[in-house]
Symmetry: C2
Subunit: 116 residues, 2 copies
């Protein structure tokens, strides 16, 4: 029996029936596709990798615009999508917003793809 995947918010302890073990239901596929769409963008993948490779897996938005070469509103837009999808959390300190990788969020997606 497949437990309903809650992968729209990957931080919410998603179950992990791998993609390859049995056919996904339509609802599971919709949710997983939505989560993967949040990742399937070059700017968002780069932002996520910069945050993930930063000390404590956290970075200030002020340090994210320059390496990506996009405007701050555009970067903020992408960060919001990653936050809504459960890959990042946002906290405000003084003037700036800081984004931190959600522990295990990428691992959960990863586990859905592997064969065992």
């Amino acid at each position: 029996m497949v437990t309903m995947l809650d992968v729209t918010d990957v931080s919410a302890g998603a179950c992990c029936a791998p993609l390859v073990r049995e056919p996904l239901t339509a609802a599971e596929a919709e949710q997983l596709a939505a989560t993967m769409k949040a990742l399937a963008d070059p700017a968002r993948l780069r932002l996520l990798s910069i945050v993930a490779a930063s000390e404590d897996s956290e970075a200030c938005v002020c340090d994210l615009t320059e390496p990506i070469g996009l405007s701050q509103p555009t970067v903020s837009h992408h960060l919001k999508i990653l936050t809504t999808a459960g890959f990042l959390t946002r906290s405000k300190r003084g003037t700036w917003a800081y984004f931190k990788l959600v522990p295990g969020a990428l691992d959960r997606i990863s586990q859905l793809l592997v064969a065992s």
Copy 2:
């Protein structure tokens, strides 16, 4: 040093510098995003999971339209995207095309996402 990822065709022995270890380059992010876009669609995820869960990880296109509830041209379109991205191989036998999961293709994407 990051070796250039060849993730447009995930079957081509992609290197595996994980996303979280160091920032992706623009080129790496473009390639990984293109591969993830091939997956980030509900119909394609369902097709892939049906093929993967089939005997020998192979299925006839004739058995894929009914469970997905889409027309054969639409299903063929999605299967072509999955094949081009390196997740499936296609072989013709008699009237029908058969699609087979490429061993390791999903694992390679999975490995890019995990922390270690």
